[in-house]
Amino acid sequence: MNFSEVFKLSSLLCKFSPDGKYLASCVQYRLVVRDVNTLQILQLYTCLDQIQHIEWSADSLFILCAMYKRGLVQVWSLEQPEWHCKIDEGSAGLVASCWSPDGRHILNTTEFHLRITVWSLCTKSISYIKYPKACLQGITFTRNGRYMALAERRDCKDYVSIFVCSDWQLLRHFDTDTQDLTGIEWAPNGCVLAVWDTCLEYKILLYSLDGRLLSAYSAYEWSLGIKSVAWSPSSQFLAVGSYDGKVRILNHVTWKMITEFGHPATINNPKTVVYKEAQKSPQLGLGCLSFPPPGAGAGPLPSSESKYEIASVPVSLQTLKPVTDRANPKIGIGMLAFSPDSYFLATRNGDFAVLSLCWHLSGDSMALLSKDHVCLCFLETEAAVSTACRQLGGRT
């Protein structure tokens, strides 16, 4: 595995363009655009303040740079480097900023989630959306880019509004039966919207595109509930990971649970393959990886090279018991990722230090990222991990 030279980066802002040709990275207040193949710098833009967020437009023509402290958003064009656009929210402040799917509108969330301002680059017009909900995932776009669902809260009740992205017409507006909505997500086929409640209550609701409630699912009461939700790419399954360390899969026909996967502390099943990182030097922390189906992430091991060996069952996984008197405990399924062919589901349970899981589009490999390490896993066609190699990358 070859690595390129190390480039400077600030705030972990580094994004590939959607068409895969360019790589944008930020260094302080500068935006650097490189060519993916040669890594030569193609463009260099200077913003007015330290950039906190960058995002490519869907057609890879524009990049938006958001500076929350100053309430500014600057948009740069790749085609015409001299083109500039600056959006100033002024005293309203800026908390979040994102593109619309057509790449011509910018949605800015003002401070305290007072409103969402929709700026149009085509017409220089402004639209306001009031009462957006301050939650983790309040805005979601359908994959075909036609509709946007927005979580709102008025008078202590949660609502969902569905907008048509082409002309920002409000298509549907309905209330949800949730206590405190935490997230919404469209299914990949764009016909079903999953809405889930706060972790104090295990409830996930499924709404059709036209606002009808299709189904509600709740696995248990009283304990901490849903932590993460993921749709399968074929829209057939909805994986719900909860604080009790289990993933429950719902099917799209009846919206009932078809199976649940547990994450026991001791793995006894002889069919499970457990990959354990072999210690080269006596260091703290030992990670292990197991397939299939749910996998726990590898822990960090500050040695330059290490290899994985298959551990024999039974294997007991090291887990740290989290303190129970604090909010947002580090237990439960924090991360879910379906493989592109919907065959596999990768999950992270507990406080394993995996920061991100992502699958390759072909579906035979997966990358795990921790704070200091990256681990690539390859799948053989018979669903066995053939090799797993790890390398230490510098802090990038």
Binding site: S77, S91, W119, S166, Q169, C191, W222
Partner: protein, 614 residues
């Protein structure tokens, strides 16, 4: 006998201590003395027998002792010892008979008593042992009873303790449940409380937000603006449109269209899946039926309800199959029928398999009672028999092969074998040889004939030539004769020209004639000539001869045409058939006789025309 000797205090001298002992003991009534003495040892001590016997009666007191004995015996009921006294004053005489009788009686009595004593003693012993045994049993049982009582008490105690524990646990469980319920209630109440508080805070927060919003909006901050160099075109390149009712309706339509498409797609998938599953089910059903139906034909199969149902089911299901395939819809009844029939078949199959299992287990356990099952031994015997048969057959085949080999690969040095080698084919060979000889003969004949024919043909040709020459000369003569009177020169010239060009004229006429079957002019004389010619020829229809005759005729006809009107050719007597084939054959210039080839070539057309000959 001396044991019952009562020694009264008559002053008998106690010479032995034993006697004195006895005397000391015997200061009682005689009956009791008697019984006592019975209890004591019955056998007197041998030492003191004599003294015993002599202690009672001595020579001095005979009378007294007799009278005493008499008294005693009479009191016991024995007859008196004395004789019948005659008078009162005379001394009574001892009745010896009575004495002896008394003695005997006494002996008998003594024996009886001894026996009785023995019996009583044995009985006594027995009873004593029984008593001991019973006592020991009794003591054992008492012990047992004690121990069991103790055990029972212990168990009761334990039972009590366990029941106590059970009750405690139940109590604890109830407590826990109550606590859980309580906690849940607490949680619920706290949740409502929190919600209420949250709502309150949120309302406050909203109010603040509203206020802030107002302030922000009111401020009319010039800074809230977008500074853009130039407008960017829309992503799809079209112009923006106003938002009207129509666009709204269009959006709604699009949304519904998307939803409907999705539903249709999913329904299609589900229908496909359904169809596949139905197919699988039907296939399964068919296979199950086929699995079960061959069982009916086996004669060993016990005819009971199951087979009866199988038959009926098969018929039913066959009908159902046809119905289902006809309909092939997803209506309720068809679905139900399918599932019901599959369930039925499955049940039958299951029962059948269970039966088979039972049979197998029965065979293992009970042996060969079951008729339907071939016992393993029989099976093995059969297989052994079959193997033997196979071996025998193989051996037979081997021997036969060997014999055959012998037959075929016989040794070469034997004359008879060499002669015999072709014995089977000898007859055929002979026949073949005969035929060959025949054939050869025939060939020779044919050769001869051919030669003769060719000779004849040659002769004929020569004769013809000669004849032609003769004719020519004759004709010349005639012409000369004819034309010498009138126009000598011109006719000569004509004739000459006609003649010289006779072949040419022939050719001309030949060519001018149409190649069709037309009656040709032949002189009357020609048939005669023909017949002559033909008679000279053999009757075999050789093609070359044909050519010859034809050429003759044509020449004839060509010459005669000058002065003779066309007439029909009579059919000549030349044998053979005249067919196109022959003509075509004739047209081939491959005839063996070279001198005729030219004729045949030039007169092919004429030949063609003259094929009305038979």
């Amino acid at each position: 006998m001396g044991d019952w000797m009562t020694v009264t205090d008559r002053g008998l001298s106690s010479e032995s201590k034993t006697i004195s002992q006895y005397t000391s003991e015997i200061k009682m009534s005689p009956s009791s003395l008697y019984s006592q003495q019975v209890l004591c040892s019955s056998i007197p001590l041998s030492k003191n027998v004599h003294s015993f016997f002599s202690a009672f009666c001595t020579e001095d007191n005979i009378e007294q002792s007799v009278s005493y004995l008499d008294q005693e015996l009479t009191t016991f009921g024995f007859p008196s010892l004395y004789e019948e006294s005659k008078g009162k004053e005379t001394k009574r005489e001892l009745n010896i008979v009575a004495v002896l009788n008394c003695m005997n009686e006494l002996l008998v009595l003594q024996r009886k008593n001894l026996l009785a004593q023995e019996n009583v003693e044995t009985q006594n012993l027995k009873l004593g042992s029984d008593m001991d045994h019973l006592q020991s049993c009794y003591s054992k049982l008492k012990e047992q009873l004690e121990t069991s009582r103790r055990e029972m008490i212990g168990l009761q105690e334990r039972d009590r303790q366990l029941q106590c524990k059970n009750r405690n646990l139940h109590q604890l469980l109830k407590n826990e449940k109550d606590e859980v319920q309580k906690l849940q209630n607490i949680i619920a109440s706290r949740a409502t409380q929190y919600n209420h508080d949250m709502k309150r805070k949120e309302r406050e927060y909203n109010k603040l937000k509203e206020r802030l919003h107002q302030l922000v909006m009111n401020k009319k901050d010039k800074k809230i603006a977008m500074d853009i160099l130039n407008y960017v075109g829309r992503a799809d390149g079209k112009r923006g449109s106003w938002r009207t009712g129509k666009t709204e309706a269009r959006n709604e339509d699009e949304m519904y269209k998307i939803l409907l498409n999705d539903y249709e797609y999913r329904q299609k998938q589900i229908l496909m899946e359904n169809a596949e599953l139905k197919k699988v089910l039907q296939q399964m059903k068919k296979e199950m039926i086929s699995l079960l139906s061959p069982q009916k034909k086996k004669p060993r199969e016990r005819v009971d309800d199951s087979t009866g149902t199988v038959i009926s089911d098969v018929e039913e299901d066959a009908g159902e199959l046809s119905r289902e395939s006809m309909w092939d819809l997803s209506c309720e009844t068809v679905r139900e029928q399918l599932t019901n029939s599959i369930r039925k078949q499955w049940r039958i199959l299951k029962s059948h398999v269970e039966k088979l299992d039972n049979q197998v287990s029965k065979v293992h356990l009970e042996g060969f009672n079951d008729e339907d099952v071939i016992s393993r031994q029989d099976h093995e015997q059969e297989t052994e028999k079959l193997e033997l048969e196979i071996q025998q057959c193989k051996e037979m085949i081997k021997t036969q092969q060997q014999l055959l080999q012998q037959q075929l690969a016989t040794a070469c040095d034997d004359d008879t074998t060499s002669l015999l080698r072709d014995c089977y084919l000898l007859e055929e060979k002979e026949r073949l040889k005969e035929e060959w000889s025949l054939f050869k003969e025939q060939k020779k004949n044919f050769e001869r004939e051919r030669r003769s024919f060719t000779e004849a043909a040659i002769r004929l040709g020569l004769e013809r030539k000669a004849f032609e020459e003769e004719r020519a000369s004759w004709l010349k003569q005639q012409f000369l004769n004819m034309t010498t009177f009138d126009h000598q020169n011109s006719e000569n010239v004509k004739l000459f020209s006609a003649f010289s060009g006779s072949s040419d004229w022939d050719n001309l006429t030949v060519h001018s004639r149409q190649p069709q079957k037309k009656p040709h002019s032949v002189s009357n004389g020609s048939p005669v000539c023909m017949s002559k010619l033909t008679k000279s020829l053999p009757a075999s229809p050789s093609t070359s001869d044909f050519c010859q005759t034809r050429s003759c005729i044509s020449e004839h006809s060509s010459i005669n045409v000058l002065n003779i009107t066309p007439e029909e050719i009579k059919p000549n007597q030349v044998g053979g058939e005249c067919t196109n084939q022959k003509w075509s054959v004739a047209s081939r210039p491959g005839s063996q006789e070279g001198c005729y080839s030219g004729c045949s070539l030039t007169y092919t057309n004429s030949h063609v025309e003259k094929d009305d000959l038979p």
